[in-house]
Symmetry: C3
Subunit: 441 residues, 3 copies
């Protein structure tokens, strides 16, 4: 057997395995989101978080993958659009790539391995929305929106940055998706929150926010551990190849950013709120993971620690700020995925270090030398342009999508269903039959 | 280092890793089954699902593996029976296989890797029984039955199909075990249900079934996510070698079948029951996974979608049908594993496509061209023969085993213990100390 | 691409992947420990178990790794101490190792892969303490102690055995850390228990222990499944290279010890306590895993079964004994990690078999022939010396550390906080908002 085919075997194993870990993050999201909401809405959140990956699979297969990675212009994929039906000769042992998905030709694994890995990322963007709109959205409306995000919203900006589109051409870098995945999910979620409004009872008549406590912090903690675990697929896996120095380095930048963010979120919450709030500790870890995702392959370990440390503080302030802005986000999805997705994307402009990237083999032409190396502002500018253009597209089209759904299907369950809980209203069942729960919450 | 030893290293890593994922499915089963049963029986179900893998490990080591894979006739393994003590020269670098387990000589990994991977499959068959007989079976009786299924019931039919026995010789195909694992577990469970009878209170005096709700749908959902995750070990791992096109293809057929089944189960439940019942959604995903297991390496992606779509509808009808037939299966194990194990095995006859198998390197002589390719009914016949003969053996011997256990140990806890709950009766403890629960359920 | 670099790629993938599994054990510990404690202390235990890995990451990066693996004398690492800043040329393709961490030069993976894998082991030692001191320790004190164990306590004795120190020189063997990880965690925990004293209400006025029941055995069971799964990273991964016969053998010794221990713990509890207590079954599995950790790469499968069988009985007796000794250990951490860490380390002296080690490539000069092969008492002596010296150092310095923390920060929450629960006292929140719980427990 030749060298080339060993490389393909090894890389395919790696891409699938890390993809499995990213798939597993669906469990993490389901547990974090249901754990941070109320007993009476648990079945509904679980059902949303479960079905969203099924919908993502169908939608990304039918259209999303082609739109994102099909050969085309700077704005959209145009070849191999439907049902991953474009020509493809991967794994292309020793010959040039001749196929419809040239933007993924840099990895030599079979097309279905590429599809699977990209699918689980698409699923992540879709599931981020779920927590932000929880405890009030209609089940059917959420399903349709999930279909739309996976067929259109996610693939289009994904094409711009990862599919060989115009932002990639300008030298914007987002290694594993602080923007492509996390802030896209965040902007789509913000659009939903703007049209949905806050949960009943979240604000007192005088506008002061009232805390609404999560019903199961054991599951929320479990969820964050699963997400941290899955992130070892998300970030190192985004090499889509076993590059030994790179995957080892990325595992450590990812982990250290999460650790630093956990520490600073704990401290910030302790100082600001008087006690170390567990939900802040957990969201701190997630914030560090989101923030380091864009730069994990380009920054040094100390820079990863710095990125995480900032993210951990930022998420606590963001949670408090959104609460005051009356943007009611039951699980802190905006603070984690949107705010830190944006911050992490910009942090590439601050911390990316060409010497690191060269050492581990993740350098590309156009990568700036990084602040430590005395580079200029060009990279930061490219990053900011990416942030702004993705924001404009996703928030704009997201608002339109939610608005049309409001007209056609309705966004929000009835007042009485919201008070009773969506579990009985949408699903006719309770999550914890046999337990005595408080019904006036 | 030579090429051959690299291949062995890579394949051993793959076989172990996917085996770890299949092991992890024990957690999935434990959470699904306890989540779908009542508070008062939680400790008992957890204990059963935990100890069953320990018993499987001991039983399959002592006798099961030898009976299944030892060289022998078409009916049973006869060499290397006890404690995996047969001669073996794997990994057989460059030389021919000379050993007692020739049916596994097609994979070049060390014997203990083969054993481990096969063990976790045996454990899956055993744990399927647990949910079906839940909430009324005696703990000790279940342990002894688990020992019997792993030493005799599972290995014998496994020998017929995977161990070089008579069904393999007739060209029956079951890539990862829709029949070998899932329907064997299902038939053994059905035998138990027939002898145990329904739970107290499941049927009203007029024979109408009463719904008995699960106590923890968060854990049930968690369990299904874990099972879906583990299935990426179950199906792609059954290559027992890193064949890049095959493992990528199988990961996608597996995933798409699960996604399609989730969608159709949701729709079917919504139409039939008026609301999208979460336990139906979850069982839908499992049904798709079980059904595609036999054919995942032989069918196209659209055929996998079709398989899943049928499975998702089938499971909902099956749950309702078993309920009416007074076959009381608290977690839907028959509908998932038996019905869809049978359907998936037959679906190989409908959908197996020699062009797919050739393209990804999973073709074998005897594989039919598939319905799409205009093949005949021979493959379907071989599949049906496999289904019927496994049914006859497992149901027959299963009934005998349960019957003897009834005589010797008793099958069912006392009426008062069943009413109070098996947690206090069998284990003297409660699962959720400190929580207020309803005791009249 | 050359052979050497394929080996590095494959080994790096393996080391990272198994490291991810060991990281995941943090979830296992969090669920076991919170599940076995009371509702009112759940948030606190979750917060401790979550933040301890963040603290471990920072502490081991800042100092621990250098102290453990830096070149130096027999007692301590002296080079590359701070922030993993020593010179290093791994992966050293074809050239000799020239760097500051020579004790890890036997594995060819990049330095960050080595660091990551060692970090997750350090995190395990730290998190063991958490359960033993649960339900009464101050949050801030636990955080500071975690920092100390990862910077000093764990790395120093780790250097003795794994870092090329004096015990390694004497031929003491501890393949994956029965002593280095588990009994170090256990001794540090014992020191804490001695200074903290038992929980309020644990002993009646006449000194008889009162059972305090765990609040969530579903989560405890989930946790043990996760730990068993993670152990497939812990033990086979400790090869830090894809040695096919070794990793397959170790996966099976690990699994069979756990299975045997589960069986004997169940039986022992059934005989001694009258019923098969689930927490004993679960701790039985863990005991077998801890015990086989030292010898998994040196013993035959029957010897692994024997090791596990003893461990499973031992843990039940140990739990009862510690209870009577008024060493109040809410989760059984001493019985699992300390008692079986010691037993497993000594069992290497009884069961290590040079023929096994030669066959799978894990032999080293100095490894005795094993009892089965008629070897002498030298190996047992080396193992016992390791146990005693680690005990003296860790218990001694642990007592000093806890004592100083008592003076500076205080060890224990106030009496009223302990009665109300640490969740409200330390974190101002409840774990299960919306559920009705008993407050007088």
């Amino acid at each position: 057997m030749e060298t080339a085919s060993f490389r393909i075997m090894l890389d395919t194993f790696w891409v699938l395995l890390t993809g499995f870990l990213v798939f597993f993050m669906n469990l993490g999201f389901a547990m974090v989101e249901s754990g941070l909401c109320r007993v009476k809405n648990t079945v509904n959140i679980l059902a949303k978080n479960f079905i969203v990956f099924a919908v993502s699979s169908l939608a990304y297969y039918l259209l999303g993958f082609g739109l994102m990675y099909g050969n085309g212009g700077g704005l959209l994929g145009l070849q191999g659009l439907l049902a991953v039906s474009g020509a493809d000769n991967s794994p292309a042992t020793g010959e040039a790539y001749r196929g419809a998905y040239a933007a993924l030709s840099w990895t030599g694994v079979p097309l279905w391995a590429k599809f699977f890995f990209q699918l689980v990322f698409c699923g992540t963007a879709a599931t981020i929305v779920s927590g932000a709109v929880a405890e009030r959205i209609k089940f059917v409306t959420f399903i349709v929106f999930s279909f739309l995000i996976c067929t259109i919203l996610y693939p289009v900006t994904g094409h711009w940055i990862w599919g060989g589109g115009w932002l990639a051409g300008l030298g914007m870098f987002d290694f594993a998706g602080s923007t492509v995945v996390h802030s896209v999910g965040g902007w789509a979620a913000l659009a939903g929150i703007l049209l949905l409004g806050p949960r009943l009872g979240k604000y007192k008549p005088d506008g002061v926010p009232k805390p609404i406590y999560g019903h199961n912090l054991s599951l929320a903690t479990l969820g964050v551990f699963v997400l941290w675990f899955g992130w070892f697929g998300f970030n190192p896996g985004s090499t889509m190849a076993v590059n030994a120095p790179a995957i080892a380095h990325i595992a450590v930048t990812t982990n250290m950013a999460a650790a630093a963010a956990t520490a600073t979120a704990t401290l910030t919450a302790w100082l600001l709120l008087g006690k170390p709030d567990l939900s802040m500790i957990l969201n701190g870890a997630l914030a560090g993971l989101v923030a380091v995702t864009a730069g994990c392959a380009y920054v040094s370990i100390p820079a990863a620690l710095a990125t995480g440390a900032v993210a951990g503080g930022l998420v606590v302030f963001a949670v408090l700020a959104f609460d005051r802005l009356k943007l009611d986000d039951p699980v802190g999805a905006l603070s984690v995925h949107l705010v830190n997705g944006v911050f992490g994307t910009l942090a590439v402009g601050l911390f990316a270090d060409k010497r690191v990237a060269v050492a581990i083999g993740t350098d590309s032409p156009g990568l700036r030398d990084g602040l430590f190396a005395g580079g200029g502002l060009a990279q930061l500018g490219a990053q900011a342009l990416g942030v702004v253009s993705v924001a404009a597209f996703t928030l704009g089209l997201g608002l339109l999508a939610w608005f049309l759904l409001k007209l056609v299907l309705g966004l929000r369950v009835s007042r009485s269903e919201e008070l009773t809980g969506l579990d009985l209203g949408e699903h006719g069942m309770e999550a914890y039959s046999g337990f005595q729960t408080f019904t006036n919450m």
